[in-house]
């Protein structure tokens, strides 16, 4: 009787745990239906036959400034266009001896040579996939994604497409969950048969999907995240992986320089989420800060990936330490929750991209006023100057709706991918596409800083620096193309 009672209690507890785990996956009812079965394609319509194709390679808009440096940091290079410039190599955590091995050029297209693989390419269309979180701890507004995905595809399709083919973009929600990311990428690769996959945000999700894409030979392009993962090796070793902006490790010296210039002689802290994919970044950033500011690095700690009840304790630790600023790399919701529990004024800085979006400023202000984060894409205050085509195209596609920064991010990545696809030639195949990337050609489009994979699969050459302006509750572009 007693044993049965205990078993009943244990069973009840297990049920509670199972329910919480299942619910915690954050699957949003309706999302799957929204894009499946088959997914809603964006941008495949609207081609105007007879119109000249937009040159896709190293394209800049006439009259638009090319990578302006607004207020260059001393020591940072003025940007300009980077035609033929080698991309930066990967960064190694010397302290741990577990570097990514990104210094050498990544695997070349020869590694995946064979019969031309034209999956996802027909005479009239190129189908690509994109995954990003619209649910979970780094949830982005669903409506923003619905509006943003496919805007550039429609724009370029209306101008003749890419070498005469229309671009079609399929979107999937990865729920900020690596397992779900892998599942949606499997769907995109095997069921939807896309030509390539784009990783929108979230280091663990990008890592998970990139490794899966590599296993099935699908080109995978993402914003730069971590470079390596314990036990799984560097992302640069994957034959189909390309990072289109600086990795976290590559951004670490930029952050250290920013800290040195703004907080000279003051105490600084470092907090990085405890995902193992950020182990190398943590070591690299810690080493970089120690070199830059020595003993003024007051603490270097890991925080939970998803910060819940721990927020007040982390906030108290920050305030008790007396630091002026914290270099932060963790989930945006965690950043907001910690800042809300703080009793002191501390500036946050960090690598891009997700902490620099306006939903973070909306949720984190006024505590996050003047927070600075790097980003692969500029903010609303600069996009019209950099790419005048964006706003009209966005409004046209969305019944006059005001654009947001998710729109800029999606526009930029689709534009970049379009340039890369055009570089793959008329007889586009996965081999010709990757050969074009590996050739050392620079892709520059005035949204993302120039990208070049000649030296490394980590092809970013700079980052934009954003600053939270709580009077407007949004980020503004402080500097462009910081190197």
């Amino acid at each position: 009787m007693r044993i049965r009672k205990r078993l009943r209690l244990v069973a009840a507890l297990l049920s509670i745990v199972a329910f919480t785990v299942i619910a915690g996956c954050g699957l949003k009812p309706g999302i799957a239906q929204l894009y499946a079965p088959g997914g809603t394609g964006y941008g495949a319509q609207g081609a105007l036959p007879g119109q000249p194709a937009v040159p896709g390679q190293s394209g800049t808009f006439a009259g638009a400034p090319g990578g302006t440096e607004l207020d260059a940091l001393p020591g940072s290079t003025a940007s300009g266009q980077q035609y033929g410039t080698a991309g930066t190599g990967g960064t190694t955590a010397a302290a741990r001896g577990s570097g990514s091995g990104g210094q050498a050029a990544g695997p070349t297209a020869q590694a995946v040579a064979g019969p031309a693989d034209t999956t996802g390419v027909t005479e009239s269309t190129i189908k690509i996939g994109l995954h990003a979180p619209v649910t979970g701890a780094a949830a982005f507004p669903q409506r923003s994604f619905e509006r943003a995905v496919g805007v550039y595809a429609s724009y370029i399709n209306s101008r003749g497409g890419i070498n005469g083919r229309n671009l079609k973009v399929l979107f999937r929600d990865d729920g900020f969950d690596p397992n779900k990311a892998r599942a949606v990428c499997k769907d995109l690769a095997l069921q939807q048969k896309v030509f390539l996959i784009i990783g929108g945000a979230g280091s663990d999700q990008i890592d998970s999907c990139a490794r899966y894409a590599n296993s099935v030979g699908v080109p995978y392009i993402s914003a730069g995240v971590h470079e390596t993962r314990p036990g799984l090796g560097p992302l640069s070793a994957l034959s189909t992986y390309y990072a289109a902006s600086l990795t976290y490790e590559q951004q670490s010296p930029l952050l250290s320089r920013l800290v040195t210039q703004q907080f000279s002689g003051q105490k600084i802290g470092l907090m990085v989420a405890s995902n193992d994919s950020l182990d190398n970044y943590f070591a690299v950033q810690q080493e970089s800060l120690e070199r830059a500011i020595g003993d003024n690095l007051e603490f270097a700690e890991r925080v939970p990936k998803t910060i819940q009840s721990e927020a007040p304790t982390i906030a108290a630790q920050i305030c008790n330490s007396g630091v002026e600023a914290v270099v932060w790399n963790g989930a945006p919701s965690g950043l907001i929750n910690v800042s809300k529990s703080m009793t002191c004024d501390v500036r946050f800085l960090g690598p891009g991209n997700t902490n620099g979006i306006n939903i973070v400023a909306t949720g984190g202000c006024p505590q996050l006023d003047n927070a600075q984060f790097f980003s692969g894409f500029p903010q609303l205050d600069k996009i019209n100057q950099l790419d005048p085509a964006f706003e009209p195209a966005y409004r046209k596609e969305n019944d006059g709706a005001d654009p947001d920064d998710i729109g800029i991010a999606m526009w930029g990545i689709e534009k970049l991918i379009s340039q890369m696809l055009a570089a793959g030639g008329k007889d586009l195949s996965r081999q010709s596409f990757m050969a074009a990337l590996d050739s050392g050609q620079t892709f520059s489009n005035n949204v993302y800083p120039p990208v070049n994979f000649g030296q490394s699969r980590f092809g970013g050459t700079g980052m934009h620096l954003l600053r939270a302006d709580c009077s407007q509750r949004q980020f503004i572009t402080e500097r462009l193309n910081v190197k």
């Binding site: 619209v134 649910t135 507004p141 409506r143 009840s309």
Partner: protein, 298 residues
């Protein structure tokens, strides 16, 4: 180390206040109907969303929005009782458990559906400001209000269970037919229980929401996740003891915060690990809970 311990205890107690409100609701329903109510936390999130809509979207006064949030939570509790629990009253406990889980998931789905335009939201505080900073941790007026509400609620429940209505509630749970025979409406008692429990959940949501940002599923798995800690607290209290649930919630809150000590800094989930070990030991040593006397076999 002393500072870290102080921070953990203070934050643990204030987080424990929220867990306690959830745990009280869980215990109340378990005592009245023997149901493990997985929707308890979602009563709170739904109430929070309603209060947020009142204050932020519609510009209502705070007190009115607060009451509106509690009313919506109560309506959800009553609807759950009428539409799920009552029709399934003769079903097994597992079926009822799944039914309440279904209510929670449906609520979370609706919250996602309605809130994704702005997935991260902020509820204003009742009173802004920091009352004290012991060990450098912020004790806000909002925390103190939550603690005060918990004390009042706990006292009110203690009085309630000694009142005719409270005794009717216990009678209806222990022997429904006999209770009906002496004039107690089991149906009304059941609705009253679910209504009170939903208000307790609503209080947890509306009072804790301003401390963090909130999203769909806020009290179930979001930033304010209190369902699992609430169940743990209720189990520690023996699933029947109200004071036990409150004390259990405080214990859960503090132990969870101890996982944030720097000695666990590199281990993700240190708090959860400590909690589970603690609960496991309690269940093995005192399966009836810490605050309930062992039942005597008859």
């Amino acid at each position: 180390m002393i500072t870290e311990l102080g921070i953990a205890v203070i934050n643990g107690v204030f987080i424990g206040c929220v867990y306690a409100l959830v745990a009280l609701g869980i215990v109340l329903i378990y005592r009245a109907s023997g149901v493990f109510n997985f929707a308890q936390a979602e009563f709170g999130t739904t109430g929070l969303f309603a209060a947020y809509a009142g204050v932020v979207l519609w510009g209502w006064p705070y007190w009115l929005s607060f009451l509106f949030g509690l009313a919506v939570a109560m309506a959800m509790g009553l609807a759950t009782e009428r539409l799920v629990i009552n029709p399934l009253r003769h079903a097994s406990r597992v079926t009822l458990l799944v039914g309440t889980a279904g209510v929670a998931l449906a609520a979370i789905g609706i919250q996602f559906w309605k809130s994704n335009e702005q997935p991260i939201r902020q509820m204003p505080k009742i009173v802004n400001g920091i009352a004290a900073e012991p060990f450098g941790t912020a004790v806000t007026y909002q925390h103190l209000v939550t603690l005060g509400v918990l004390i009042v609620v706990a006292a009110a429940l203690a009085v309630f269970f000694r009142s005719p209505s409270g005794l009717a509630l216990q009678a209806a749970q222990q022997e429904g037919t006999a209770a009906e025979l002496v004039g107690i409406s089991v149906r009304r008692v059941s609705m009253m229980t679910w209504g009170i429990a939903a208000v307790l959940g609503g209080l947890a949501g509306i009072l804790s929401g301003p401390n963090l940002t909130f999203t769909a599923g806020y009290l179930t798995f979001g930033a304010g996740a209190a369902l699992l800690p609430g169940f743990m607290a209720a189990v520690l209290g023996g699933m029947r003891s109200m004071p036990g649930a409150v004390a259990g919630a405080m214990a859960v809150g503090v132990i969870e915060q101890l996982g944030s000590l720097s000695i666990f800094g590199y281990y993700t989930g240190g708090g959860a690990m400590m909690l589970f070990f603690f609960l496991l030991i309690v269940l093995l040593v005192r399966p009836q809970g810490l605050f309930v006397r062992k039942a005597v076999a008859t």
